[in-house]
């Protein structure tokens, strides 16, 4: 049993220490908004926040999250930046299949939390680890700019 703080609530989970946070969230806590895409931090579909930092939950063991705060897509609307990002995603109608979008939104929110006015180059650098096979990249870029403007 391990105790994790997920979206502001302490939860006791039956997860071994080496289980990646991704599977503790999905298979044990049954929070399925965070997605599995590659299992080796290559695609970003599993991006969550650990104490506000974007991390790849597919390679981060639960033991690394003890005593820290996990935030997932299910709770990001309670964050001012996250809410603005989700609103921009809706305004631009970014999604297609949608599978990667939880990770994209979490990565974009982490970017805007530290960089209030990202340039295209900043977006390239921050978002290059998040693959979208549907190719929603131009809309993601537009939505990040839009959210930055709204937050300014």
């Amino acid at each position: 049993m391990i105790i994790l703080n997920i979206n502001g609530k302490e939860q006791k989970l039956d997860a071994p220490d080496d289980m990646p946070i991704l599977w503790a969230l999905r298979d044990v806590a049954q929070l399925t908004g965070t997605k599995f895409g590659c299992g080796m931090a290559q695609c970003g579909a599993c991006t969550i926040h650990l104490d506000g930092q974007a991390i790849r939950s597919c390679i981060t063991p639960v033991s690394a999250a003890v005593g820290k705060k996990i935030t997932t897509i299910e709770d990001i609307h309670n964050d001012k930046v996250g809410q603005a990002v989700q609103a921009a995603w809706s305004e631009i109608d970014v999604v297609q299949c949608g599978y990667c979008q939880s990770g994209q939104i979490m990565a974009a929110t982490a970017l805007l939390a530290t960089n209030k006015k990202p340039t295209d180059a900043d977006i390239d650098a921050a978002m290059n680890g998040n693959i979208c096979r549907c190719g929603t990249y131009p809309r993601i870029r537009a939505a990040i700019h839009s959210a930055a403007t709204k937050l300014a």
């Binding site: 990646p20 299992g39 695609c43 897509i73 995603w89 979008q101 693959i131």
Partner: protein, 725 residues
């Protein structure tokens, strides 16, 4: 367009009261259009045609005013979750905010109107459902109006409908309040569809209905299914296609905490566990002795050498005109070229998965699939059930691109075998490595062409041979998609090329290579290789003839107005012929596929061997654009998918094994490499085509033609990778 459609003759309609109240509309496809799969007899199909499995509705009007639209096709990103409801909302004058959408179950009612089986593919959903979904909307409206007329004691003609209400004089009744009464009205023999000039919904950019749930993480994909008792399985498959298990030792695997069972299935050895992590660790602990089978020596470099040998001789004739033997020697100039394209994986973001629960006389399946009919039949066959005893719950697909339309029902069949062997409900999941190494690739192709030019620089004799695997051989589609030994999908885009129509002598032939690598349709199917070859060859010819590539195409396509319209619009918007910033060069390509005509202009720079695509300008003529914004999204998507593949993707084999494993070595498009994209739509009254795939084929040649303009180097092998370094 607004002539009454005689529904009773075209389709059998049944309107019936729903248990929960409201109105249900169902259509069935005439028996003659049914697709007969192996094992299905005409009599059985006839019996099926008489039945209306439950739920068999296209549309449900709830007493709470909701309009629930049932999708006969699968939502995999292409936005039919929105486009098909638009068709119904248009004719129904529905309140858009009251629309709900569900995937339909797997049942004959939902067979594709042209293909006769339940399938999402071929960029065909919108055009193939354009009439049926509008009819469903119009019929429902007619029933609601009749019910209101009866209730109010006024003639039907005095009633109008608006935003979910029936209005007669001062009376305004909501659709929900009429739903139960409408269910008792006799179905009309015909309905009148709106005149296009009265459309309020069709043709308007409309936001996705699945947007909110995909933004807040609540959308349910196959991977997200959970219920009490559902176990997770991972299957260890042969490292070489066609291999089999000699023996295995599961002792260590069974010691992993959370592992419950290890069972053998036809595709390998399955570890059944509490969760993914335990299943993965269990699978890693398996000791398996494989018989690698006949493909243990597979090597893609050696295959290419073999293809080259085959290309030296003419294959089966796919298209022919004039007489190359006499015309070729008379040519003034010649172009000879060989093009090669690799195997490609679809790699949708959601790795394959399928959950199966087997009971005594039923089986329930939860998955994201593009081909419910074959999945249902395959599951039924494995379990000794009738297809209708297999219930398929289609969930959102985390991308499809063709991979989830498998004629062999590979991932569904395997999951059924696993659940059957385990005796408990199981979700069989694939890792990314399983996906990349798991086959069903876009086949590798080699094209060889010799083209003779006349004194005007125009092609006068064209000798073209392609070598590659057939997608269709060995599938249930073989009977009608292979003619005289030619798989239509192997030569689409070459044998029927509009360019050849202006060439007096041509000869297109095909060698179908028989190799034990599973292949499948990959976004845009045969066009994914033929457009690259044809549009590169045309560019080569233009340069050989010292003609502008755009002008050269215009001459050859003078009798093909839809190609020309797309070509001219893209060229105009890209300022073709006007100066560019230093170091940027243009390339152009145009190609028809799935009934739509797309031109792309690429702006590219090559610095120290590194190719950068800065801008893609696209124009499409797909006939009517039902939802212009989702059309644009599909063009952006096709550019991303096609460009990523052209730049970096390839699946290769050595010692029988796939050499790639995950996104670090099977590279796809990422944010930093994505160009700016502009999409322009040709205002076209022509026949509707598709939009999910046609944007892709011209992408690679537009880019490589721009690379030629920049460097003078002709890219004849994909991916471009580091060929310019």
């Amino acid at each position: 367009m607004n002539a009454p459609l005689n529904i009773s003759r075209r389709t059998f309609i049944k309107a019936s009261a729903l248990v929960v109240g409201g109105l249900v509309i169902a259509f069935t496809i005439p028996h003659a259009k049914r697709f007969l799969l192996p094992g299905a007899t005409p009599d059985a199909a006839k019996d099926d045609a008489k039945k209306l499995p439950t739920p068999n509705a296209f549309l449900r009007v709830g007493t709470d005013n909701t309009i629930t639209v049932m999708l006969a096709h699968s939502e995999m990103g292409q936005s039919i979750w929105t486009t098909l409801p638009m068709l119904i909302a248009e004719e129904l004058d529905a309140d858009w905010s009251k629309i709900k959408v569900e995937h339909a179950s797997a049942a004959p009612e939902y067979a594709h109107t042209a293909y006769g089986m339940q399938i999402t593919g071929g960029s065909s959903t919108t055009w193939s459902e354009f009439d049926r979904y509008r009819q469903a909307g119009a019929l429902t409206r007619a029933l609601l109006v009749s019910a209101a007329a009866k209730q109010l004691g006024v003639p039907v003609e005095s009633i109008k409908t608006e935003n979910g209400f029936v209005i007669s004089g001062d009376n305004k009744i909501s659709y929900g309040d009429l739903a139960e009464a409408a269910a008792k009205i006799e179905t009309p023999k015909a309905v009148t569809l709106k005149d296009p000039k009265d459309w309020k919904v069709i043709g308007k950019a409309t936001k996705r209905l699945d947007g909110p749930e995909k933004i807040n993480g609540t959308a349910i994909f196959g991977q997200d299914i959970h219920f009490d008792g559902l176990m997770t399985a991972m299957v260890a498959r042969s490292p070489v296609f066609g291999g089999s298990v000699k023996k295995f030792d599961a002792t260590a695997a069974k010691k992993i905490k959370g592992v419950h069972q290890v069972v053998q299935v036809p595709t390998g050895v399955a570890v059944i566990a509490d969760n993914y992590w335990a299943a993965k660790k269990g699978r890693e602990a398996l000791q398996i002795d494989w018989d690698l089978g006949p493909n243990a020596g597979l090597d893609s470099k050696a295959l290419l050498v073999e293809f080259r040998k085959m290309a030296k001789t003419p294959g089966l004739i796919a298209a022919k005109a004039g007489d190359n033997k006499t015309a070729m020697p008379k040519a003034e100039k010649f172009l000879e070229a060989e093009y090669a394209l690799p195997y490609l994986a679809h790699s949708p973001m959601e790795p394959l998965n399928c959950s199966v629960k087997i009971d005594k006389d039923t089986c329930e399946i939860w998955t994201g699939t593009q081909m419910q009919t074959t999945d249902q039949q395959a599951a039924a066959k494995i379990l000794g059930l009738k297809p209708e005893q297999v219930k398929i719950h289609t969930l959102f697909l985390g991308g499809g691109f063709g991979r989830r339309a498998n004629p062999y029902a590979d991932f569904v069949s395997e999951a059924v075998h696993v659940a059957k062997a385990a005796g408990v409900p199981v979700k069989t999941v694939w890792s990314r490595e399983d996906d990349v190494k798991g086959g069903y690739y876009r086949p590798m192709y080699l094209h060889k062409a010799k083209i003779g030019l006349d004194a005007n620089g125009m092609p006068a004799a064209w000798e073209h041979t392609a070598v590659g695997q057939s997608i269709i051989v060995g599938t249930p589609f073989e009977a009608f998609m292979i003619k005289d030994g030619i798989d239509a999908t192997s030569v689409e885009g070459t044998a029927d090329s509009p360019y050849l129509k202006s060439v007096p002598n041509y000869h297109v032939s095909l060698h179908t290579a028989k190799i034990g690598i599973p292949v499948l349709w990959w976004r845009s199917v045969g066009h994914s290789h033929t457009a690259f070859v044809m549009e590169s060859l045309i560019d080569e010819l233009a340069h050989t003839a010292k003609e502008d590539p755009l002008e050269y195409r215009r001459i050859l396509l003078k009798d093909h107005p839809r190609h020309l319209a797309a070509l001219n619009l893209a060229a105009e918007k890209a300022d073709w012929g006007k100066p560019l910033p230093k170091g940027i060069f243009r390339g152009i390509a145009v190609h028809e596929s799935f009934g739509s005509y797309v031109a792309q202009v690429a702006e590219v720079s090559v610095v120290a061997g590194a190719v950068k695509v800065h801008r893609m300008v696209s124009a499409i003529d797909c006939g009517l654009a039902v939802n212009p914004d989702s059309l644009k999204a599909q063009m952006e998507s096709s550019i991303s998918f096609g460009l990523g593949a052209a730049m970096q993707s390839e699946i290769t084999f050595k010692d029988g094994m796939v050499q790639q494993s995950n996104f670090h070595d099977y590279q796809v498009m990422r944010m930093a490499s994505m160009p700016k994209v502009e999409v322009y739509i040709v205002q076209s009254p022509e026949k509707m085509g598709g939009v999910g795939e046609p944007g892709l084929p011209p992408v690679a040649p537009a880019v490589t033609n721009a690379i030629f303009a920049a460097t003078g180097k002709r890219i004849r092998t994909l991916p471009i990778s580091n060929q310019l370094a």
